[in-house]
């Protein structure tokens, strides 16, 4: 199969890239959005809280973008997982409906989003019982499946989603004992504390970390400890807190497996692909956008960047087409002159 533009990922970034490329001259029928999950929309689908763009919920924003993309005639394929991307822009894709596919693209946008960092980074002592999970996983259990991962929870980390999940657990009838953050200030904007913790009487403790997990089969308690300025636990402040779940949110990294395998240069600081000003990666014609490029502070910024990437990709494709035409003209001019001789 051949496609002018293939976008990997249908989160807000992928959708906006597609819409913007189409608005800027790429034929919608030449655009294909590939999505691994059953539904389009990416992480937005699990965000039932509002605060997206003009105060929409995540799901509302997703459905608006999906409607817009589909309305323009952009092809979207769900349940389609990209296994790899080669330097010459051949994608290997698997899908239960279409099987094992090879797609040759002229341009590719990596809009694969990000992943939550694992608990290992925190190196918490103790065993590995059930009831310890990431904020994203907790959100999916509660919001998408209707199940509680715990009823008495400690949250560690202070990203937006750490605060949002604390509030959600409380709204769903659970208890949140506290949210703690090893650093001196929250990672997310302070407004989240006001919106998510204060009204629900959930304490927020900076310079505090979970230092131990109790329980072998299911978590039974955690040890919380205050940290000194160097980040070392102050032993005498150790405190054992009973709980049945620990939700962690220690930040995100761009989802770059495809990029690494394709041989792109990954930046040490952002952990995303190195890009030129137009978001083109070190592989010509492959662009990175949204959280797959760099972890953004807000959805607004992702949408702004993605709209720009759509324009840049349209320009790239136009340039390619022009070059091809020129070459053809040259060739035919050449041929013509040969003919004359």
């Amino acid at each position: 199969m051949k496609k002018k533009l293939v976008i990997i990922g249908s989160g807000p970034s992928g959708l906006v890239c597609g819409i913007s490329a189409a608005k800027n001259g790429v034929e919608p029928k030449d655009i294909l959005i590939l999505e691994r999950e059953k539904e389009l929309g990416g992480t937005l689908n699990q965000c039932i809280h509002n605060g997206f763009m003009e105060n929409l919920t995540g799901t509302e924003l997703a459905s608006n973008l999906i409607k817009a993309a589909k309305g323009m005639g952009i092809e979207c394929m769900t349940n389609a997982c990209v296994l790899s991307l080669s330097k010459d822009k051949v994608l290997t894709v698997i899908s239960p409906e279409s099987g094992y596919l090879k797609i040759q693209a002229e341009a590719v946008i990596l809009a694969t989003g990000c992943r939550e960092q694992s608990r290992g980074v925190l190196s918490i002592g103790g065993a590995r019982p059930a009831g310890v999970l990431s904020a994203g996983a907790a959100q999916r259990y509660i919001n998408l499946k209707g199940y509680m991962p715990g009823r008495k929870t400690v949250v560690v980390g202070s990203t937006e989603i750490a605060f949002i999940i604390a509030r959600r657990i409380k709204i769903e009838g659970g208890t949140v004992i506290c949210v703690c953050e090893p650093k001196g200030a929250p990672l997310a904007d302070k407004k989240y504390i006001k919106e998510c913790l204060t009204p629900f009487n959930i304490p927020f403790r900076t310079m505090h970390n979970v230092t131990k997990i109790y329980g072998k089969e299911r978590i039974e308690a955690v040890e919380i400890c205050q940290l000194d300025k160097k980040g070392k636990p102050i032993k005498k402040t150790k405190e054992k807190i009973e709980c049945d779940s620990l939700v962690y949110s220690c930040g995100y990294t761009p989802d770059v497996d495809i990029a690494i395998e394709a041989g792109m240069v990954i930046k040490r600081d952002t952990k995303g692909p190195r890009t030129k000003r137009n978001n083109e990666t070190t592989i010509s014609g492959v662009f990175a956008s949204g959280n797959a490029h760099i972890i953004h502070k807000s959805i607004d910024k992702i949408i702004k960047e993605s709209a720009g990437v759509g324009i840049n990709v349209a320009k790239f494709l136009q340039r390619q087409a022009n070059e091809l035409k020129e070459k053809e003209n040259e060739d035919s001019a050449h041929n013509d002159s040969e003919d004359k001789e």
Partner: protein
């Protein structure tokens, strides 16, 4: 109710027990394996360094030395037969000064006496070429080309699944608490359950002494639980070391190592601390610091920010210092395979043959089976999607479209892999069982994106509610009921 009778009951489904079951499954006798845990490899076999040691560590003339060298030689054949990842990556013991060099020379001589082939002392220049990241202070190394790495629980699953496919019965959550005599049989009981056999093999790892006590036998040594902690690094740091690198050993043992794993990660550890409980597989802050420092001695620039998980295992260290594999003097037909500490994994193939020799001497009649399945299961070696070639992937998806549904993107695990693991002879019916068989949840994000998908598939395939799905044991439910 009549008690089910077997020729042989093996207590413990660690690598010693399962490997013995695998070797026994070639003969036409009836074997059962009973295991306290919910799965194969619930003890030391689950969490260790995963090194197939070459055999220069064990003292000359010990059972350990004999079985280590032989086991290491057998590893290639067994892993090829059953499709288990195994790599002969070689090991290096590095030395920093002349005292270390003397010790390395001693190890080399010992290894040669034990029958290890190809041992060589190398100098700085060659070492630097082999291991660009190794400490500049490392001046020499003992190179053992026959050492390797293997996934310990996968090896245990493979041999267990093969034996189950060949008619061996497995009983899980069967903690043996009483053993009685009934004529020529031993009745092996757990709570209200009982099975009986003419021969019993005690392969209970850390608990082998307690099993001996159940028949009023006393092992001539104590088993001391010594915990070893580990850190596992992301695959992006998988090239930190190309060989298994140790420092020159001291009185405390082989010390902390840095090694690649068969799955492409880097493993760092273990320390060795005596613990109160044989079940204490928790990690500690101090312990992790200790192994981090140990690792920096070997690779000063090691990127410990890339740690994706930490874990610990408990060694069944015998005070005698050697493996103890013998028929009980008091109880005929009762065979102990105890004190199987490191290199118990590397030695397992040879340990199991040794056990079978004792069984024969004790009178067990072993005739080769006519119908024998040589692969993991009757359907072959259950290759994972990740390991398949492009042609195999196309074929797998055509035959079962679930191989085209991605479950774990970090480790490229598909729904087809998960469903296969759930329906194999030893069913993976918990999230961790699926994880260890398929690698779903073992990557960069440690299951934060796939655990719930695995749980949903388990619930669907076993026809239970998702809130009933377990992480690993009966008290480890993933969820705590519905939302409001």
């Amino acid at each position: 109710m009549s008690t089910k009778a077997y020729d042989v009951v093996i207590i413990g489904a660690g690598i010693t027990g399962t490997m013995t079951a695998f070797q026994l499954a070639k003969y036409s006798i009836k074997t059962a394996v009973v295991e306290a845990g919910i799965d194969v490899a619930s003890g030391s076999t689950r969490a260790n360094s995963a090194i197939v040691h070459a055999g220069y560590d064990a003292k000359e003339g010990t059972l350990k030395a004999l079985l280590n060298v032989k086991g290491c030689e057998m590893m290639s054949q067994i892993t090829t037969q059953l499709g288990v990842h195994y790599k002969k990556c070689g090991s290096l013991v590095i030395g920093f000064n002349n005292r270390d060099l003397e010790e390395l020379e001693r190890l080399k001589t010992r290894g040669e006496t034990n029958g290890v082939k190809g041992l060589r002392i190398i100098k700085r220049a060659e070492l630097a070429k082999m291991e660009p990241n190794v400490s500049k202070d490392a001046k020499f190394a003992l190179y053992a080309p026959s050492a390797g790495i293997v996934c310990p629980y996968d090896l245990a699953y493979a041999v267990a699944e093969n034996s189950a496919s060949n008619g061996t019965d497995y009983y899980f959550e069967y903690k043996v608490d009483k053993i009685e005599r009934d004529g020529e049989y031993y009745v092996v009981c757990s709570e209200d359950k009982a099975i009986k056999a003419k021969y019993v093999i005690n392969a209970a790892g850390c608990y082998a002494d307690e099993i001996a006590k159940l028949i009023n036998d006393d092992l001539p040594f104590e088993i001391i639980p010594r915990r070893g902690e580990y850190m596992l690094l992301d695959k992006c740091e998988g090239k930190t070391a190309k060989h298994t690198i140790f420092v020159t050993p001291n009185e405390k043992g082989k010390g902390i190592l840095v090694s690649p794993t068969v799955d492409g990660n880097t493993i760092v550890g273990p320390n060795a601390n005596i613990v109160d409980s044989k079940a204490d597989t928790g990690v500690t802050e101090e312990g992790l610091d200790e192994i981090a420092n140990g690792a920096r001695r070997i690779v000063p620039q090691i990127n410990l920010k890339a740690v994706i998980t930490t874990f610990a295992g408990v060694r069944p260290t015998p005070t005698s210092g050697d493996f103890y594999i013998q028929e009980s003097e008091k109880c005929k037909g009762f065979i102990h395979a105890a004190g199987i500490e490191s290199p118990g994994l590397a030695s397992a193939p040879a340990v199991s043959e040794y056990v079978i020799d004792i069984l024969k001497k004790a009178g067990a009649k072993l005739n080769k089976k006519r119908k024998y399945i040589a692969t993991r299961t009757k359907d072959g070696n259950c290759k994972l999607f990740y390991d398949m070639t492009e042609a195999e992937r196309r074929k797998a998806i055509k035959e079962d479209p679930r191989y085209a549904i991605m479950v774990c993107r970090c480790e490229t695990v598909t729904e087809g892999d998960v469903v296969n693991a759930i329906h194999r002879p030893i069913s993976a019916h918990t999230v961790d069982m699926v994880k260890r068989r398929t690698r779903a949840g073992m990557g960069r994000c440690q299951g934060s994106h796939c655990r719930e998908k695995v749980a949903e598939i388990i619930a669907r395939e076993l026809n239970i509610d998702i809130s009933e799905v377990l992480k690993f044991s009966s008290n480890s439910k993933l969820l705590m009921g519905k939302t409001k």
